[in-house]
C-alpha cells in the first residue's frame, strides 16, 4: 500500500502540474488580449490619447458651481492674447513669505524683489508667472495649483511642487545640493539655531555687456566666428530674452558654494541646434561661411554688407525707420519711392538731395538720367549728350 502511494503520488503531482501550467498559460493569453484591446482602444479613440485635447476639469476655469452661458463665472486667466506687459520688477513686493503648507520645515522668506530683478537677465517675470502675463492682476500660484496632493485632476502640479520646481531647478544647479536647510527652509524646532539670510533691499550687481565675442570652432572651412554683441543690442535692438531666455544663474555662477565632490567645472553639452538656433532664428542662411570665417570679422557696415552706402541723411536713421521693427529685418529694394511715397515725377523736389537741377533738366522724367530708376548708380548723360559725362559736367549745381 505504502509503495503504491509512493509511486502514484509523484505521478499525480506531475500530472496536476502539467495541467496547471497549461491552464495558467491560457489565462495569461486571455489577459494579454484584454490588455491589448484596452491599448488599442486608447489609440483608436484618438482624443483620449491626444495630450493636447487632454481632459481638464471644469473647475480649472469656472469658479462658479453652475456656470451658464450668461454667467460663465470664469477665473481671471489672462492668456497670451490679452497680455499688455508686466509691471516693472521694481513695483512687485520685495519679500514674499510662503508658509501655506509647512510640514517638516517652517515657511520661506522669498526675496521676490531680488529675483525679479535678476529675471530681467533671462526670461523676465514670465519665467515664474506663466500664463499670467498681465498688468491688471497677478494671480496667486494657488489659484491654479491645488494645495491638496491627493486630488482628482493630477495633470497640473500641486502647489508644493509648483513652488519647489520653480526654485530648485535653478538652486540645485547653483549650489549642487538639495539641502532644504541650506537654501530656503529652516527645519521646524531649529528656528533659533539658524538665522535665515535677509535679502531685503538687495540687488544683483549690474552686468557689463560684452562688445564682441570671438569663438574658435572646429568647422574646417572657417574656424573663426565673430559676434558683435553691442551691435545686436544697440543697432538691431534685439531683446535680451530672445537669446538669453533659457539662461540660468549657473551660466555665470558655475562654481560650487561649498567644496563638495561636485568641484569639477560644470559641463553643459549643447547640441548642434542649441548652438546655432539663437543666430539662425534671424540669420536664415544655409551658407555656413556667412559666420564661419578664416579671420575675425569687421563690424557691420551697411555699404559693405548690402552694397548700399548710407550717406548723409540715411546714416542718421534708426534701422527700423526703413526695415521695420520686426526681426528678421524687412528687405527693401532700392526704389526711393518704396519708402518715399511722395517721390513722384513732377512732385519731387530734387534740391532735397543737395543738388538743384538746371531749368532744362527740371521737367524731365527721372529715368531719363537715372537708368531703370536706379538711384544708387551715377546718372548716365550719354543717352542724350555724346560729349557730357557725370560727374565732370553737372546738369545743375550743388547746394
Amino acid at each position: 500500500m505504502k509503495k503504491t502511494i509512493l509511486i502514484i503520488s509523484p505521478l499525480l503531482v506531475i500530472c496536476a502540474f502539467a495541467i496547471s501550467t497549461l491552464f495558467s498559460q491560457n489565462k495569461h493569453q486571455g489577459l494579454n488580449e484584454t490588455v491589448d484591446k484596452l491599448n488599442r482602444n486608447v489609440v483608436v479613440s484618438g482624443k483620449k490619447d491626444d495630450p493636447l485635447t487632454e481632459k481638464i476639469s471644469c473647475k480649472t476655469c469656472h469658479v462658479t458651481e453652475y456656470p451658464t452661458r450668461k454667467d460663465p463665472g470664469l477665473r481671471s486667466c489672462p492668456r497670451d492674447k490679452m497680455l499688455s506687459g508686466f509691471p516693472s520688477s521694481k513695483t512687485g513686493p520685495d519679500v514674499v513669505v510662503i508658509n501655506e503648507m509647512s510640514e517638516n520645515y517652517s515657511g520661506v522668506r522669498f526675496s521676490h524683489g531680488l529675483h525679479s530683478q535678476m529675471s530681467e537677465m533671462s526670461l523676465g517675470c514670465v519665467d515664474c508667472h506663466h500664463y499670467n502675463i498681465s498688468t491688471e492682476e497677478i494671480l496667486k500660484c494657488s489659484d491654479c495649483h491645488n494645495k491638496n496632493r491627493s486630488r482628482e485632476e493630477v495633470s497640473v502640479p500641486d502647489l508644493k511642487s509648483a513652488f519647489h520646481r520653480q526654485c530648485m531647478m535653478c538652486h540645485k544647479q547653483w549650489s549642487h545640493d538639495n539641502g532644504c536647510n541650506s537654501q530656503c527652509h529652516v527645519r521646524k524646532g531649529q528656528e533659533n539655531n539658524l538665522v535665515q539670510k535677509d535679502f531685503t533691499g538687495k540687488i544683483h550687481p549690474k552686468q557689463k555687456e560684452p562688445e564682441k565675442m570671438i569663438w574658435e570652432t572646429n568647422y574646417e572651412k572657417g574656424k573663426i566666428v565673430t559676434f558683435f554683441h553691442d551691435e545686436h543690442i544697440q543697432l538691431f535692438k534685439i531683446n535680451c530674452k530672445s537669446c538669453h531666455g533659457n539662461d540660468k544663474c549657473v551660466k555665470c555662477h558655475d562654481k560650487p558654494l561649498q567644496p563638495t565632490d561636485y568641484s569639477k567645472p560644470i559641463h553643459r553639452k549643447k547640441s548642434f541646434e542649441e548652438h546655432h538656433m539663437p543666430c539662425l532664428n534671424c540669420h536664415k542662411s544655409e551658407n555656413c561661411q556667412k559666420c564661419h570665417r578664416d579671420q575675425e570679422m569687421t563690424p557691420f557696415n551697411h555699404g559693405k554688407s548690402t552694397g548700399w552706402i548710407l550717406k548723409s541723411y540715411h546714416s542718421q536713421l534708426a534701422c527700423e525707420k526703413c526695415h521695420g521693427g520686426q526681426m528678421p529685418v524687412k528687405k527693401i529694394d532700392r526704389n526711393c519711392s518704396s519708402c518715399h511715397k511722395n517721390f513722384l515725377p513732377g512732385k519731387f523736389e530734387h534740391k532735397k538731395t543737395g543738388f538743384v537741377l538746371s531749368e532744362t533738366h527740371k521737367d524731365m522724367e527721372c529715368k531719363s538720367c537715372h537708368a531703370n530708376n536706379d538711384f544708387a548708380k551715377n546718372p548716365d548723360c550719354k543717352e542724350c549728350h555724346d560729349d557730357k559725362s557725370f560727374p565732370s559736367q553737372l546738369p545743375g549745381k550743388r547746394k
Partner: protein, 313 residues
C-alpha cells in the same frame, strides 16, 4: 502561533493535492488573479523633475517602522557615489546618473517594486504568499511565506529582498505601496513627501496620458518612451526620462508578461523529465537543515515531506 499557521497551511495544501487527484482539475494555491480594476492606480516617476533629495527614502522607512537617521542627514550627496539596490531596510532607493547634457543637473532615479500588472513574483510563489490586488498593488503575506525565495529569482527587477539579519522568522521585504497606510491616508508615504511631485499618483490611465503629454510638450527633454507602460505587460510604476533607460539601470524587457519566465523554468524541468519532486525534495532538505538548527526535528521532517506535494502545486 507561527507553527500553528504553518500547519493550517499544510493542511490546505494537502487537501488541495487530494482534490486534484479526485477531480483532475487544478486550483493552484497561488494568489487568485482578480481582474484588475479600471481605476487601478499608476505612479509616474518623472526623472526630469526629481531632484534627488531622498526624502522619499526617509518617508518610506518611517512608514514601515524601519529605523532611520534624521531627515537632515539625507541631503548628504556622497551616497550617490555607489549604485545602491533595494534591501530589507531600504524598500526604495534613489540613485544618481550622469546627465551628459548638463553636469549640474544629474539624473535621479527612484527604484522600488514596480507593482507589475502581471507580476512574476505572484506566479512564482508556490504558496500564494504574494498577491496582486484589484487596485494594482502587489502585496506579500508573511504568514504564508515558506522562505523559498522563488520570488527573488522570478522578479525581473530583482526587487524582493530577504531579511537575512533576522534569524527567526525571516521576512521577504519589498515596497507594499503603503498598503496599510493608504486605508486612512490616501497617498503612499514617498508620494506624499516628494517636494517636487516627481512621483505622480493617480489612475493608471490618467498617468499614462499625462506622461504622454509631458513627452510631447518637452520633446527636447524626454525620450519618446514610457518605461513600464508596456514592459513585461505593464507596471504600476512608470518612468519618463531624457536618458536611455538601460543607462539608468532599468532593464530592457519584453512587452509580454514575465510569468512566462518562471513558468518556463518549470517547463524546462518537465522537458528533461526531472520530476519536480526531486527539486522540492532538494529544497525541502535545505529547509530541513536550516530548520533543524532551531531544534524541532520531528515536526519539521513531517512538514518537509508534505511540502513536496503542496509545493508542486
Amino acid at each position: 502561533m507561527k507553527n500553528q499557521n504553518r500547519r493550517d497551511f499544510l493542511k490546505t495544501a494537502a487537501g488541495i493535492g487530494a482534490s486534484i487527484g479526485i477531480a483532475g482539475s487544478v486550483k493552484p494555491a497561488k494568489a487568485s488573479e482578480k481582474t484588475l480594476s479600471d481605476d487601478r492606480f499608476g505612479i509616474l516617476v518623472d526623472t526630469d523633475v526629481c531632484v534627488g533629495c531622498r526624502h522619499c527614502e526617509w518617508a518610506c522607512r518611517v512608514a514601515h517602522n524601519i529605523p532611520t537617521p534624521d531627515l537632515d542627514t539625507y541631503s548628504d550627496n556622497s551616497v550617490f557615489k555607489e549604485y545602491r539596490r533595494t534591501d530589507a531596510s531600504s524598500l526604495t532607493v534613489v540613485n544618481e546618473f550622469e546627465n551628459e547634457k548638463n553636469s549640474a543637473m544629474p539624473v535621479h532615479v527612484k527604484t522600488q517594486c514596480m507593482h507589475c500588472e502581471h507580476p512574476a513574483c505572484v506566479s512564482a510563489c508556490i504558496v500564494g504568499a504574494f498577491s496582486k490586488l484589484e487596485d494594482g498593488s502587489v502585496v506579500w503575506d508573511g504568514d504564508k511565506c515558506i522562505g523559498c525565495r522563488y520570488c527573488m529569482v522570478a522578479c525581473p527587477f530583482q526587487i524582493p529582498t530577504y531579511d537575512y539579519d533576522r534569524s527567526i522568522d525571516p521576512q521577504i521585504r519589498k515596497c507594499d505601496l503603503c498598503f496599510e497606510k493608504r486605508k486612512t491616508e490616501k497617498l503612499p508615504a514617498c508620494v506624499n513627501i516628494c517636494p517636487n511631485e516627481a512621483l505622480l499618483f493617480g489612475k493608471r490611465d490618467d498617468i499614462v496620458r499625462i506622461a504622454k503629454s509631458r513627452i510631447k510638450r518637452k520633446y527636447d527633454v524626454y525620450i519618446d518612451h514610457i518605461y513600464g507602460e508596456k514592459e513585461i505587460g505593464g507596471t504600476s510604476w512608470m518612468y519618463i526620462a531624457g536618458k536611455d533607460f538601460e543607462k539608468l539601470k532599468l532593464p530592457k524587457l519584453n512587452y509580454s508578461p514575465a510569468p512566462g519566465i518562471s513558468e518556463s523554468i518549470q517547463h524546462g524541468i518537465f522537458a528533461y523529465f526531472v520530476p519536480p519532486v526531486t527539486l522540492y525534495a532538494l529544497l525541502g532538505t535545505i529547509m530541513w537543515i536550516t530548520r533543524k538548527k532551531k531544534g524541532d526535528d520531528s515536526e519539521i521532517k513531517d512538514e518537509t515531506n508534505q511540502d513536496k506535494k503542496g509545493g508542486a502545486l
